[in-house]
Amino acid sequence: MKITFKLFASLEVHLPPEARSRHRIDLEVAPGATVADVIRHQGVPPGQCAIVLVDGVWVAASEWGSRVLSEGQALAIWPPVAGG
């Protein structure tokens, strides 16, 4: 199944070079893939994943292993960032 995988700020280096400016790729993942599976498979250091959103909704680190992704969902990840 296909999902949209988005990486921002310093994590964009884990995307293919041609996809970095838009921060996203379409990703083919196995049915039943979890957030943790995608993070591991894409080689993103879990310790750098501070904000993890599925369709804009926060997924706590304790739920990455159990949160199963569905077709068409967007997984977006940021390193530790803040503003104001």
Binding site: F8, G56, A74, W78, P80, V81, A82, G83, G84
Partner: protein, 616 residues
């Protein structure tokens, strides 16, 4: 003690500068900066006066940690009755001006009256004098700073000044120091203009300006604090690299990015104006908008953005004065100049931000007012004839033109200078002003983030994100994660944030430290700097006292619980898209609990018991 114990009182009408001792009892009760100056202001002016009356006072104030080795210890504030809101106004700035004021030996400068002619205050350590500023009137902030430094043959003089916006009493005029750091909100620059005070120029060289209570403990505490900031992902890496602007995509994904005067909560052009985009090479000239990051005095975070525009961009094509590197857009400015009115041209936003710095006006209120004007235009209420040009949402040219007109005080820029509340009221639609207490919202939708909605409604200086940053728990998970739409626990969390923020704003350090520091990191620094008992418990009591004193001022000025409200759009019009789709503000659920936690009556008035407990 980390206070200099000296107050400079400047009577602009009489042209006199006198020294008086700092009220040390008040310093013990209110710490410094925001709290201490508020105590002085509340004690010296009638809350009901016209903010532009000579009876209003304007206070420049530092904190006990300003000008010390504490990380980010370079802050100062300007406190007055604000013309945009009619409420207490306290605007906080970084840069190097605050530390210089402390090195000259002053905790506070109180301006009273109004000068019969334009003047600036020149401080050279213990010597202070008012100097004729006729030749500076009509000049921009950038010109003023350069002329003063040249005139006195001292490039190290630090200058805080107003541009043409402050002179023209734009109701959201800022006071700008060090070219692009600003006491930006609530119109403190317009009060300065009303007093014919063009600038404050200060040179401080004293090594005995203040004395730390326990130097050895202070060095240990500040060193420990710096290590915490360096090791933290946000303050050690995220903010230096991407600045606050990195939030643009986060808040958009979350469906909390107010767009086109809050008609929408997501902006299709968010990426184009984001922190990441500032790093990317432009197709036009192959260079990135961002040149480097910058730091204020004593700061080990360095979140500031220094940008250089594409010299071929239409807005600056024939204006070489804007081709050099200068203060770039931070998140709030990029949002207000961009998403709030549907503009996705990063170069245009940078230009408008340069103008805000150059002539001293708040990009948040300005940008939000552009959004309101564009909505009125699209409704047909505001016409091309009145404005002088077309004004649809998303028009880069119109946003740029309005920034130029507002800076100069020309044409429709005069009306823009009133802010959105007065603009929308003038054209019969006050409900379209996205404000609380007449001050415009910053860059987070109060429906999408329920805690931020409550923070806006209860803020003593009108809508603002810097008095109780509920984005931390609702978006970033700091210190704990709270769901955006939840209401449970939010009033208590907000009260804790508001009280802690009042402490930070009164200490002389930057609020951004609190992404890494808790009160347990801050307390040892204050304790070692200041004599007396500064336990965590006492500091929070000081914060609560400051919050209540500000509230008392506003109540005496005529504000009531009815002003702790949000515009009908946030209360009734559901968010249209994204994960917060369908959301409206649940302010009515949270506000009574908030009042109760504050020890206020259901009408929002501190009870006798609360007043007694806090000594307000």
């Amino acid at each position: 003690m980390a206070w200099t114990k000296n107050v400079l009182r400047v009577n602009l009408e009489a042209g006199t500068c006198t020294t008086e001792p700092l009220n040390l009892q008040w310093a013990q009760d209110y710490l410094g900066q925001r709290g201490l100056a508020t105590k002085y202001l509340v004690s010296e002016i009638d809350p009901k006066i016209d903010p532009f009356s000579p009876k209003n006072k304007l206070i420049f104030v530092t904190g006990p940690l300003t000008g010390t080795m504490a990380a980010t210890g370079g802050r100062y504030s300007v406190v007055t009755k604000g013309p945009l809101t009619g409420a207490i106004a306290c605007s906080n700035s970084g840069g190097y001006f605050g530390a210089e004021m402390k090195f000259a030996g002053w905790d506070m400068v109180i301006f009273e009256g109004a000068s019969p002619k334009p003047v600036y205050l020149l401080i050279n350590d213990g010597k202070a004098e008012l100097v004729d500023a006729s030749h500076l009137w009509g000049k921009t902030v950038w010109e003023t700073e350069e002329i003063i430094k040249t005139q006195h043959q001292d490039p190290q003089i630090r200058v805080a000044s107003i541009g043409r916006a402050g002179e023209n009493r734009v109701l959201y005029a800022a006071i700008v120091n060090d070219l692009h750091r600003a006491a930006g909100r609530s119109g403190v620059g317009a009060v300065m203009g009303s007093k014919n005070l063009k600038a404050v120029a200060v040179r401080g060289t004293r090594t005995d300006a203040y004395h730390l209570a326990d130097p050895e403990a202070f060095f240990a505490a500040t060193e420990a604090g710096k290590k915490v900031l360096a090791a933290n992902g946000v303050t050690g890496q995220g903010l230096p690299t991407y600045g606050t602007q990195v939030l643009m995509n986060v808040i958009n994904e979350l469906g909390a990015l107010p767009t086109r005067n809050h008609r929408d909560v997501q902006f299709e052009g968010a990426h184009d104006i984001s922190g990441e985009a500032m790093h990317e090479k432009r197709p036009t000239d192959g260079k990135a908008n961002l040149v480097t990051n910058g730091a204020c005095f004593g700061c080990t975070i360095a979140c500031g953005r220094i940008s250089r525009m594409d010299p071929g961009h239409f807005s600056v094509k024939d204006k070489p004065q804007y081709h050099g590197a200068s203060g770039g857009v931070e998140y709030e400015a990029a949002w207000a100049l961009g998403a709030a009115n549907g503009v996705n041209d990063l170069e245009a936003l940078t230009y408008a931000n340069f103008l805000c710095n150059e002539d001293g006006f708040d990009p948040i209120t300005f940008g939000a007012t552009v959004g309101a004007a564009m909505e009125l235009y699209e409704m047909g209420v505001l016409t091309e004839k009145e404005v002088g040009f077309k004004l649809p949402f998303g028009s880069t040219e119109a946003m740029v033109k309005l920034a130029e007109l507002t800076a100069k005080g020309e044409g429709f820029g005069k009306i823009m200078g009133l802010g959105s509340k007065r603009l929308c009221t003038k054209y019969g639609h006050p409900e379209l002003s996205m404000t609380v207490k007449s001050q415009e919202f910053p860059a987070y939708d109060g429906r999408a983030l329920q805690g931020m909605g409550l923070a806006y409604a209860t803020n003593n200086r009108g809508a603002c994100h810097l008095r109780g940053y509920m984005v931390s728990p609702e978006v970033l998970g700091i210190p704990v994660k709270m769901e955006p739409q939840a209401t449970e626990g939010k009033p208590a969390m907000l009260k804790a944030f508001q009280d802690l923020t009042a402490v930070v704003d009164s200490a002389g350090i930057c609020l951004f430290t609190t992404f890494a520091w808790g009160l347990s990191d801050i307390q040892p620094q204050i304790q070692a700097a200041c004599e007396g008992d500064w336990s965590e418990e006492r500091l929070l009591l000081v914060g609560e006292r400051i919050w209540n004193l500000e509230r008392e001022f506003n109540l005496a000025a005529g504000f009531t619980a009815k002003d702790d409200n949000l515009p009908p759009r946030l209360m009734k019009e559901p968010a249209k898209t994204g994960p917060q789709k369908g959301a409206v503000s649940k302010l009515g659920v949270m506000l009574p609990e908030y009042y109760q936690l504050r020890g206020w009556t259901p009408e929002g008035v501190p009870t006798t018991e609360t007043r007694k407990r806090l000594g307000v």
